[in-house]
């Protein structure tokens, strides 16, 4: 079992992006070294989607660089 698998067994976390506050700037995609986020077009609006939540390292870089204060991480 890889270390990340072991870790994911003991941790549950949930990343949410508030679609109202997200401005689709892509800062989270840029600062995340673990490629958690993708920018997707939903309806007419571009927003960040935390597709690969399990890869998150909880470093808070995305929250710290989010100009819309749109990201919440619960763990």
């Amino acid at each position: 079992m890889s270390s990340v698998e072991i870790w994911n067994q003991i941790v549950s976390k949930r990343i949410t992006v508030d679609p109202e506050k997200c401005i689709g700037c892509g800062n989270c995609v840029r600062v995340c070294a673990f490629m958690v986020y993708q920018i997707k077009k939903i309806g007419k609006k571009k927003i960040a989607v935390p597709t690969y939540q399990d890869d998150c390292f909880l470093c808070q870089s995305c929250q710290a660089d989010c100009p819309g204060d749109a990201i919440t991480i619960e763990w």
Binding site: M1, S2, S3, V4, E5, I6, W7, I10, V11, K21, I23, V29, R30, V31, A33, F34, M35, Y52, D55, F57, L58, C59, Q60, S61, Q63, A64, D65, C66, P67, G68, D69, I73
Partner: protein
């Protein structure tokens, strides 16, 4: 913009920084009877500790007399060319054992033996004379999370208030003694003035001074900058440690693959022409895996600077000789990450370069973790410096956070009985003016541009190939940025949250310029190559002249530098 409403907070001890070090300092100060506040730049506790991988060193063998704190101190001194401060190391290694005992009692999920004690491994790690490796199962696991998982509930349980999203911009000092600090809540714009009997800096390093770094985005030398401007001495700032990381393609920027481990499994470094190059720089080594971290980082940086890097300015780490079964099991997560950007590690290489990892220098402290110049100012973890000498013993990064955190918390708590110091309101007004000037300035340049200008300069001139000419032009460049760019920073954006984030970025740029100057001057002063400080015009170690600390401080508005023999 409706910002800069004022708020005042009074406390015995103000801890700046919410990583492992800050949490331990806060817990220890609280348990000694002091009223404590933690102020944290990011939303919740964790900080740079969260990205720590693998494990850390602690002399836990002390409990069955197979090891001793003194042994850990001696090994640390040896790793740093005997340039570390023995008394501070003593406090750190002692505190580190206490911290580990606490963490175990708080249920930290470290790797344990059947009797419940820490499993320290069978043999000593490189540089250690005894097994001391405190880790989690798995060879590259998330130790930082394990530590923070145990620490967070302790902070909550004690009811220690954590003030989040606040960046401290200035320390308030009156007559050589600390009186508090001021900062800004970069989410709602409140200007906060803390009145405190003691301040503990646990702000980490300044990874984002360089373009390439594996640190979280908010690690920008806020503690170094504030301490320097308040008149504290900073020591050994030329020793910044670089580690190979993935910085291309862009999606992977900052990814830490732990190259040393891959190389120990047979991965090799090649340049753009497909040549293995390490022998050119390290003829006495047989394989990349044998080289010390500083040696291999320097070799890679020089090869890149000689123009033999990839199109992205990186060196290739060829993993095709690595056993596939190990790759597919122990590193399955990394294989899948690289696959996501179209790189199949079984036959395609990673692109790596040395990125800024940790700082060995920092605020100069004594064995009580107190600043040598400002009474009542304490520093722990990466924010403190001078304890480790020119190189850091493996596993001492987290150890310094925990160990010095314990030491700082305990010593700072002694000041709880003192009278509340009076704040010099002039300093508060000046700082408020500075913030308002930034907020009100219209039509200038964006703070992000200034930041990246600084990072590019540092990367070009003060990476792993430093020389007098480059460092002098770096200082000129930084002086120009300070004179022309910093005063013209403007905050754009439709929303208030955008403008406030820009304000934080502007304040970080100010810290980066100060840190850049400190690193450049320290590096210029040390005319030798040693540990992580590598100069191309002084290639050798010079023990006759340079068993000294380089100390930088501000007097008036001028940066001063002096050297001093290592403290014994």
């Amino acid at each position: 913009m409706t910002i800069l409403t004022e708020k005042r907070v009074e406390t015995d001890i103000l801890v700046i920084g919410g990583g492992g070090s800050g949490c331990f300092a806060a817990i220890k100060a609280h348990d000694s009877g002091a009223k404590v506040h933690i102020v944290n730049k990011v939303p919740w506790l964790g900080g740079c500790t969260m990205v720590a991988r693998a494990g850390y060193s602690a002399a836990m063998g002390e409990q069955d007399s197979s090891d001793s704190v003194a042994g850990h101190v001696q090994d640390s001194l040896k790793a740093g060319d005997n340039m570390g401060n023995e008394k501070v190391l003593q406090a750190m290694c002692r505190g580190n054992v206490d911290a580990t005992v606490d963490l175990l009692s708080w249920g930290a999920a470290f790797k344990k033996r059947p009797d419940g004690s820490c499993d320290l491994g069978d043999k000593p790690r490189p540089g250690h004379t005894s097994p001391r490796f405190v880790g989690v199962s798995g060879d590259y696991s998330h130790i930082g999370k394990t530590i923070m998982d145990a620490l967070q509930p302790q902070i909550k349980q004690r009811g220690i208030p954590v003030i989040s999203n606040v960046m401290i911009t200035r320390l308030l000092v009156a007559e050589g003694e600390i009186a508090g600090a001021v900062g800004i809540d970069w989410r709602d714009g409140t200007f906060i003035i803390f009145n405190a009997k003691a301040v503990i800096l646990a702000t980490g390093g300044t990874g984002h001074l360089y373009q390439y770094t594996d640190n979280p985005i908010y690690i920008t030398g806020d503690g170094y900058g504030a301490a320097y401007r308040a008149g504290a001495e900073l020591v050994d700032m030329e020793f910044c440690d670089f580690q190979l990381g993935a910085y291309a393609p862009q999606e992977l920027f900052g990814y830490p693959p732990n190259c040393a481990f891959w190389m120990s499994k047979g991965a090799i470094l090649i340049n753009r022409n497909g040549e293995r190059f390490f022998k050119k720089y390290l003829p006495h080594r047989q394989h990349e895996a044998e080289c010390l971290r500083t040696e291999i980082s320097r070799a890679v940086a020089w090869e890149i600077l000689d123009g033999h890097g990839s199109e992205n300015g990186m060196i290739f780490l060829n993993c095709s000789d690595v056993p596939k079964d190990w790759m597919m099991t122990a590193r399955a997560d990394m294989v899948s990450h690289f696959k996501r950007v179209g790189i199949d590690l079984t036959w395609q290489p990673m692109e790596v370069a040395p990125g800024n990892h940790t700082y060995l220098g920092g605020v100069r402290i004594n064995e009580l973790a107190e600043s040598t110049t400002i009474k009542g100012l304490y520093a722990c973890g990466e924010a403190s410096g001078g304890w480790g000498g020119s190189n850091r013993l493996g596993g001492n990064g987290v150890a310094s956070a925990l160990g010095l955190g314990v030491a700082a918390g305990k010593s700072a708590a002694e000041r709880r009985v003192a009278a509340m110091p009076r704040i010099d309101e002039n300093q508060v007004r000046q700082e408020r003016r500075k913030l308002i000037d930034i907020v009100d300035y219209k039509g200038g340049i964006s703070p992000l541009k200034v930041k990246s200008k600084i990072q590019k300069l540092m990367q070009e001139k003060a990476w792993l190939k430093r020389d007098e000419k480059g460092l002098k032009s770096l200082l000129d460049g930084l002086a120009k940025i300070e004179e022309h760019d910093l005063p013209k920073i403007c905050l754009s954006g439709k929303r208030q949250t955008q403008r406030l984030l820009a304000l934080r970025n502007a304040l970080e740029a100010i810290n980066l310029v100060d840190c850049g100057k400190i690193v450049a001057v320290s590096a210029l002063t040390r005319t030798e190559s040693r540990g992580s400080h590598q100069r191309s015009d002084y290639l050798n170690k010079d023990d006759d002249n340079w068993l000294k600390n380089v100390i930088v401080y501000q007097k008036g508005n001028e940066l001063q530098v002096r050297t001093e023999p290592v403290v014994k």
